[in-house]
Symmetry: C2
Subunit: 333 residues, 2 copies
């Protein structure tokens, strides 16, 4: 009677030693990726750049990977999240702006007619952004974003926006960091709109976020220094602006870059033009069932035929959300 | 006869155990600092912010320390190093610019009359900077800086400029990093002038350098993407620009900041305005024997009486190079 428990304990130990340790060591770091060309390309690139003695070995400080945000790390449909934030802010600020009732694009917005409001094109968007993103201190804006992102819900899925992030990309970020890569966000979105939550959601600290910005000004308010957000564009981190932003913030050329639209073309070109092993990937939204299906015809996250042609010509890997991703969101069963 | 060597070996071992290990563990991380208020303030601040359970404990991601460069990490006399670089570049480029012979500020410069050249004030300096810092790709400029810094010599000491760095500050940078701090340079100098050598000299990688910049533009040259340096100021990272640059690049408020002149005032104010333990320090150049002695009256690295008054009022620690630094340069005996 006394021997049996000891024996099963010994058997359990044997099993642990024989199976559990190797199983742990070989655990798939990318479980939400189906086996296929995209996953293979990632693993091969990481092996090539991090294996000592490999002809493509890259020293850790130079392992820079840049990620677009909208449509690459989180969903951008039916509208950019930051635009939805701005629309919510217009509603919240309306009581302080009685004049908006008769002034476009605010009047249409407040009537719930987003389409009419945005008919004014880029000018309308800039007006909405300036009215909602400027005129407060950086600390105040950070708190506004934090409060909003903690409570706002996606209009279609009713999930928090921070749940609308792509599980395979979270795994990719973690896999690269575990292999000595420094991961950066390089987004057309507002830098101060992303920083309050990117560390928690993506593991990317504020100093590794590059984005569009408005000007700020150092001022003294009641003897305390503040940075005021001014209604003036400082930098647009999109298209040809992305390599400029990368150079300004990082000062090194990435060796891996991930995007999903025409806005990322120059970032991938810039990354690919360096020597040695490179990995350029584009997320293609082709899964109408689990996410959205859009591309060349979409105004948001345009993936033009020209981009597809350049990807083929330049060896950029196109990720099919439908075929390459086993799971898109963490909340899926 | 056989016992004695064993006995002395045993004695040696005892000594090792009794003294050597604690001695190693307590090795002074700041050997070039004299014991005094400045060194005490540094050690107390690091202990307070990094000791678990301390009321002033700061989690590692928030341990941000910013350092001015000219006059704080390396010498800025008899002239800013970058200005000496620009003057050398004017000479190197003169054969391609025959028109400079009759055009100020270049004409005076080429005759060796720096004072006359700079008599034109800020406009003259901007002209010299644009003529020598713009019109090439970022990669080309990086190479020009690398080649220059590898060979150029300080006009007074005849040492390489990278030997004109302050040994106590190198120790401080290393001490902070060993305690989980992320160290940044926040300088009025050109960001692209510093990045090619800050990693090697200070252990500060390019992505942790904040500085002044000119605009760049993404272009295709013979099918290869380049970033062209344009003759247009993008950002001046000095005075009230320093908190703006810190916010743009780092996105967090530093908890420690180090400077030496009026140009650093706002950076120290911004740092000091946060909650919890803070360390603000100003290097005072008061050692005419081992370095230079200058302050309120100096055009380079002005340390005004108003700055000294604010330091006293705000509890900023003034570092006396003469009294607080045992050694200034590594090349000293």
């Amino acid at each position: 009677m006394r021997l049996r428990p000891i024996r099963s304990w010994a058997v359990a130990l044997l099993f642990t030693v024989a199976f559990a340790t190797p199983a742990l060591a070989q655990r798939d770091p990318l479980p939400s990726w189906n086996d296929g060309a995209a996953k293979k390309a990632i693993v091969a690139f990481v092996k090539a750049t991090t294996t000592k003695g490999s002809p493509s070995f890259v020293p850790p400080p130079e392992r820079i990977a840049t990620f677009d945000n909208d449509g690459t790390l989180w969903a951008e449909q039916p509208m950019y999240v930051q635009l939805l934030f701005a629309l919510d802010r217009v509603k919240a600020l309306a009581p302080q702006h009685p004049e908006w009732k008769d002034k476009e694009p605010f009047a249409s917005l407040l009537k719930g007619d987003v389409k009419a409001a945005l008919a004014g094109g880029e000018r309308a968007i800039v007006e909405i952004v300036m009215a909602t993103h400027a005129g407060m201190t950086t600390a105040e804006f950070k708190q506004i974003v934090k409060d909003w992102i903690a409570t706002a819900k996606h209009p279609v899925t009713k999930r928090p926006y921070t749940a609308m992030v792509y599980q395979p990309m979270l795994e990719l970020l973690a896999y690269l960091r575990a292999n000595g890569f420094k991961t950066f966000i390089v987004s057309g979105g507002g830098i101060e709109f992303m920083r309050p939550w990117t560390e928690k959601v993506y593991g990317v600290p504020p100093e590794q976020v590059v984005g569009s910005s408005i000007k700020t000004k150092y001022e003294m308010h009641d003897g305390k220094p503040v940075l005021m957000r001014l209604p003036a564009i400082d930098f647009i981190d999109d298209k040809a602006g992305k390599p400029v932003g990368i150079n300004a913030h990082i000062g090194r050329r990435p060796i891996a870059a991930f995007g999903n639209s025409d806005g990322d073309r120059e970032m991938l070109e810039w990354t690919g033009a360096g020597g040695g092993a490179r990995l350029m990937m584009l997320v293609h939204h082709d899964d109408a069932q689990r996410e959205w299906s859009y591309g060349a015809e979409s105004k948001i996250g345009t993936f033009s035929d020209a981009l597809m042609a350049e990807a083929k010509k330049s060896g950029w890997v196109v990720i099919s959300m439908k075929k390459d991703w086993r799971r898109i969101f963490a909340f899926e069963k």
